[in-house]
């Protein structure tokens, strides 16, 4: 399936999706409320069949928090990048996709640990690497603690 077809198919499901093109992947920024529905559809539709989530990344753009999903289809061999963003830095949350791609369960726990983004309906939303009583979320741009040293 070409990139244009893919864009049309996603637009038919989520009319608000915004596309941007980089050299490698087609990238779709979608409203986070339609994330789970679209993800499920992308996996099950015979023409898209994105069955392999190979990377899930949390990003802090400064003002916005985002989660980036890198998808690949093992049968059709095409890639897609989904992105969801939120301005809510106090209590950010997205729907989980770990019922669709099992590998997401631990990726999402890592994102929660380091960015503080909660995933709704996640079976085990705890920190993964840091202690449970750790204060703050280290990969956020505004994170500081008493050990932070400013490099001059």
């Amino acid at each position: 399936m070409t990139n244009e077809d893919l864009k049309l198919k996603i637009s038919s499901q989520v009319p608000d999706a915004e596309f941007s093109e980089n050299k490698q992947f087609t990238e779709a920024l979608i409203p986070h409320l339609s994330l789970h529905k679209l993800a499920l559809w992308l996996k099950n539709d015979p023409e898209t069949r994105f069955d392999y989530l190979f990377c899930l990344t949390g990003v802090d753009y400064g003002s916005e928090l985002a989660v980036v999903y890198h998808l690949n289809s093992t049968s059709h061999k095409h890639d897609l990048v989904l992105k969801v963003k939120t301005n809510n830095r106090e209590n950010p949350s997205f729907d989980t996709v770990c019922d669709i791609w099992r590998t997401a369960e631990y990726f999402e726990r890592e994102v929660f640990d380091l960015f503080g983004i909660r995933f709704n309906n996640h079976p085990d939303m705890r920190r993964l690497f840091l202690d449970d009583d750790w204060k703050g979320f280290p990969l956020r741009k505004d994170y500081t603690d008493e050990h932070t040293i400013e490099r001059k």
Partner: protein, 374 residues
């Protein structure tokens, strides 16, 4: 199996929990499994990681691209060269720099040497996990030959940081090609010993065939890549699917099995060593002459954008995801490490098996803990 699990659920009040690790020899690093037992059978298992979390991704945000290379060595230290290469390729693609052919060939050769060395160490340690101490000496003896080649050319044996964006730190030693040819000759003779010791060993076979079976669907859903995924029939070899460096110029087979048990995960790595030697043979005599590095500015600033590079590390798919805002430091670097995904299949594979088999299953996944924690 289903009967066993049903049986276990009935006896729920008799849960018995033990910790395996964090200092257990067979976890090859500091990782703790919280194992729930019913008698000798594993009911479920929870991995606890983070004992050596160093925040490499956070450190990268304060570093230049040349400095990041040195941090990636410390993730999967057994395929340090491949980690370096992934970052270099990502930066070079972003800058659209054409590296000299010589560099491409040398990088591919080094990747394959690292892969063989890594699998040798895995074989050594896996044998030991299964109770065969001799394999440890055999494996390390042969791995030493590769480390000698590394030492001669780069001055370090394990974490060489030999790659740099644009090419290599310096040129290879004049004896480099001869060393590899001698190693291939030597190791082709030694590899049958591996089969005699372990592959054809009845005790080993009895213990590993049919143990910890992973289906292809689960392998894809859980993102199990590398030899562990290919043993289940998941054709995930990045060298074939998305060729980089010189992999489109060489002939090799992707090792695939459908059984997905511990024995075939073992077998996939043994076969992969042979394929790696085939690749080496095709490349070693054809290294083109030329520069060992492309000329880059000393301060690298990537154009604003997002870049992703995947390579096949010794344990599976390694992804490097760089988001640049145009400064000399990246805005965000994410490493999609193979062991991170591979670890979390443990509960699925081990539930219902005996506790003694737990070590065999985790050994067959070939986990390197610093790669999980980062």
């Amino acid at each position: 199996m289903e009967e066993v699990i049903k049986d276990i659920i009935i006896k729920e009040n008799e849960d018995y929990i033990i910790n395996m690790g964090p200092q257990h020899p067979s976890t090859h690093g500091v990782l703790r499994f919280e194992v729930c037992l019913v008698g000798e059978t594993v009911k479920y298992l929870i991995p606890h990681c983070g004992y050596i979390h160093r925040g490499i991704e956070k450190m990268c945000e304060k570093d230049t691209y040349q400095q990041i290379i040195h941090l990636t060595d410390r993730m999967d230290y057994l395929s340090a060269h491949i980690n370096n290469e992934a970052v270099c390729l990502c930066v070079e693609n972003a800058l659209q720099v054409q590296v000299p052919e010589r560099v491409v060939y040398i990088r591919t050769i080094l990747s394959e040497l690292s892969r063989i060395a890594s699998h040798q160490l895995w074989w050594a340690a896996f044998g030991m996990d299964m109770g065969a101490l001799t394999t440890f000496f055999y494996g390390l003896r042969d791995r030493e030959k590769i480390l000698d080649i590394f030492e001669e050319s780069f001055g370090s044996r394990l974490l060489h940081s030999f790659n740099t964006p644009g090419g290599l730190m310096h040129d290879i030693h004049p004896n480099f090609q001869n060393g590899i040819k001698e190693f291939i000759k030597y190791f082709r003779k030694k590899l049958p010993e591996y089969d005699q010791l372990l592959t054809n060993n009845v005790i080993f076979k009895e213990r590993s065939i049919g143990l910890g079976v992973l289906s292809k669907e689960d392998a894809i859903s859980f993102g199990i890549t590398g030899p562990s995924g290919r043993a289940s029939g998941f054709a995930c070899d990045i060298r074939k699917r998305f060729p980089y460096s010189a992999y489109d110029k060489v002939q090799f087979n992707e090792i695939l099995f459908n059984e997905g048990d511990t024995f075939h995960r073992y077998k996939a790595r043994i076969e992969e060593m042979k394929e790696s030697m085939n690749i080496l043979e095709q490349l070693v005599d054809n290294i083109p002459a030329g520069d060992y590095t492309a000329k880059l500015k000393p301060i690298i600033k990537l154009p604003v954008g997002e870049y992703y590079q995947r390579v096949e590390a010794a344990r599976g798919e390694l992804g490097v995801y760089i988001i640049s805002d145009g400064n000399k430091n990246p805005l965000r670097v994410k490493f999609r490490t193979p062991n991170f995904s591979n670890l979390f299949i443990m509960n699925k594979l081990a539930a219902g098996s005996k506790i003694a088999d737990l070590v065999a299953i985790s050994g067959s996944l070939d986990l390197v803990i610093p790669d999980i924690d980062r």
